[in-house]
Symmetry: C2
Subunit: 384 residues, 2 copies
């Protein structure tokens, strides 16, 4: 099998990002073949290098997991000499990505306008909590802040009084993926126009962009959407239930599947129940439906029900924890686990890439950079 | 202000997708300027046209919210004449996107290989629940199934016994955004190589790709991550609390912010408390920390605390519901609400795009297509 030509092969990315949203973005660019060079501050580097959990070597596994395939150099952008080096690198770069608070790069004399004047083909991207404009633009943003402000927390969990945060830092990560999309699109445009571009992404905007259903529901019904546990707002049954030994989810989105489900669960009388005859009625009478199915589901184990439901063609699944997930045969077949190896040969399993191009996953970076590890190498290559 | 040239202007996309993951992907492509033509089956069209909530006109608001700016034609791909028309369109297309179960397009004689043979510049993309390969490839997938299998449900919510689904269909939507990224990247590659590409995206892979932190935590500690309510696994305090009249979130991720927070809350003795001296200790003693802060926070209202915390520079926010979200001044300033208007002049507010390019948001499609609305127009334009 010959290696697939990666879409961003040959693209040079200067990566000033720290912590999560920005580094997730540049990880995606590196996965797609770009040459990503992290520019880190002297001493500490990317803040995430100090975030747990830590490997036996003392290095941050948090950092390792989102910085594969990048290189690292150290520059102090407050010092003239380093700022000059930075500007020389910018002249060679295809993209610059940063996730400082808006205004920080300008205060260093390195704002988007200045850099694009120096290099009109440059795609400049800022990723921030709230974007460069608007009343919140200067506010600090953490994932939980954006989760809360952005409405996502209010519709996640079981009770209005007890909202829940998504178990991963999805507001950061969404901003990372959207930024990678925007940068890739701007590079595609440059292939036609020879002009770079200026991108301004906000974690809050990206969080709101995934609320499609809740927003239109509110618009149409006037009812403020609340948390629905494991349920879907308009498809029923579509939720978790408890079998005799644990939980499982069942999604029977139409009347045929509903009848099949009732047959499998040996509650055929429910098929004729007028309160449950259509999806609309089942949604309106969801607590009643849940009670009736729950009583039946308690009679067998998760494994027994899943075998019966699969045979009958009713979509159902176990609720896998992270350990079970890592043993899942589908993810192993899809090569979704990527092993990083540090300089001492220590291995760390991380999620790989979901991008399958021409039948192959791109070959991902096998390790993460130490602070400043590639200083001489990068400067020699980029500025030769 | 002159209109920004959109990155995918001039790109022709044939969109065979239904429901959510695929349509979300092609909405992003349309937002980026592509000419997206939905190909729908006779009679019902995209299944989502039958999903509530419904507008007074009887049309689906669910469908409207994710199909702006696209056009619709009707083809019956099981009929020879329509299949021939489809192949003529493929010859003119830059991309084809479908989210059938793997094998469906092949069984119609319209698989990726055949279409790319006909048009070597074509970028063919399938988005499915589990991908084209692996033991689950034929299984039906709904968001809740992938949420559950993919580990995300096991780390969302408050109790292990009572996991929660993310309040939006994030497994579908992540697959949609990742697919848009993959297609845009393949189009960028084509600009250099003149070759199209073949993309195989899976909702399960995309869900696992956002679990970075949980996976490495498990790898390093051997402890299976569970749901954390509103908390962060390694930053404390970073969670929701209750003020006298409702909840708010506070994120004080370092020792300086912790001290400031204690001062603002008028619990200065906690600064000297050895159980809470560092972020690591606060994380280990989180229940104790939560109890101590909670007692203080009950003394004032959300608005009062937010004013005091903002003044002191401690990141904090209200937990906004969807109604409050739509009144938020930041989102209004960022132009994040997009009004769709149907043929009768009825308006529906939806989330706009988070993409800000060269200081502007792309102009988004102002309406959604009726089934087959653009049949003659598209065939005349594309096949002239």
């Amino acid at each position: 099998m010959t290696a697939v030509e990666l879409p961003l092969a040959g693209m040079k990315v200067l990566d000033l990002t720290r912590v999560l949203a920005g580094p997730y973005c540049t990880m995606l660019l590196a996965d797609l073949g770009a040459d990503v060079v992290k520019i880190e501050r002297p001493g500490l580097g990317d803040d995430a290098r100090a975030f747990g959990p830590f490997l036996p070597s003392g290095e941050s596994a948090y950092f390792a997991g989102i910085n594969r395939g990048k290189r690292s150099i150290v520059l102090d952008l407050k010092q003239d000499a380093d700022r000059e080096t930075f500007l020389k690198l910018v002249a060679q770069a295809d993209a610059v990505v940063e996730n400082f608070r808006p205004g920080t790069m300008e205060s260093l004399g390195l704002g988007s306008e200045k850099l694009r004047e120096l290099n009109p083909r440059l795609v400049y991207t800022s990723v921030s909590g709230f974007g460069r404009t608007g009343p919140y633009r200067r506010r600090p943003a953490y994932d939980v802040i954006v989760h809360a402000l952005g409405g996502l927390m209010s519709i996640t969990g079981h009770e209005v009084e007890r909202p829940a945060r998504v178990g991963s830092s999805i507001s950061d990560i969404l901003a990372g993926i959207y930024s990678a999309l925007a940068i890739t699109a701007a590079l595609a445009r440059r292939a036609k126009t020879e002009r770079g571009g200026d991108l301004d992404l906000s974690m809050l905007d990206c969080t709101v962009a995934v609320l499609e259903n809740a927003i239109v529901r509110y618009g149409v019904t006037g009812e403020v959407p609340g948390p629905l546990g494991t349920r879907h707002p308009s498809i029923t049954p579509f939720q978790a239930f408890r079998a005799s030994d644990g939980p499982l989810v069942i999604a029977a989105g139409n009347d045929v599947l509903w009848k099949t489900l009732c047959t499998v669960l040996e509650v055929p009388h429910l098929v004729a129940d007028p309160k449950l005859a259509t999806n609309k009625l089942r949604t309106e009478n969801q607590p009643y439906m849940e009670g009736a199915l729950q009583a039946a589901l308690g009679r067998k184990s998760v494994a027994d029900w899943l075998a019966l439901l699969e045979k009958a063609g009713v979509p159902a699944a176990p609720i896998q924890n992270i350990q079970q997930l890592m043993d899942d045969p589908q993810l192993q077949a899809r090569d979704m686990w990527h092993t990083l190896t540090d300089r001492d040969g220590l291995e760390l399993t991380t999620p790989g890439t979901p991008l399958v191009l021409d039948g192959q996953k791109p070959e991902l970076g096998g390790t993460w950079p130490r602070l400043g590890e590639h200083q001489d190498e990068v400067l020699a290559e980029w500025l030769r």
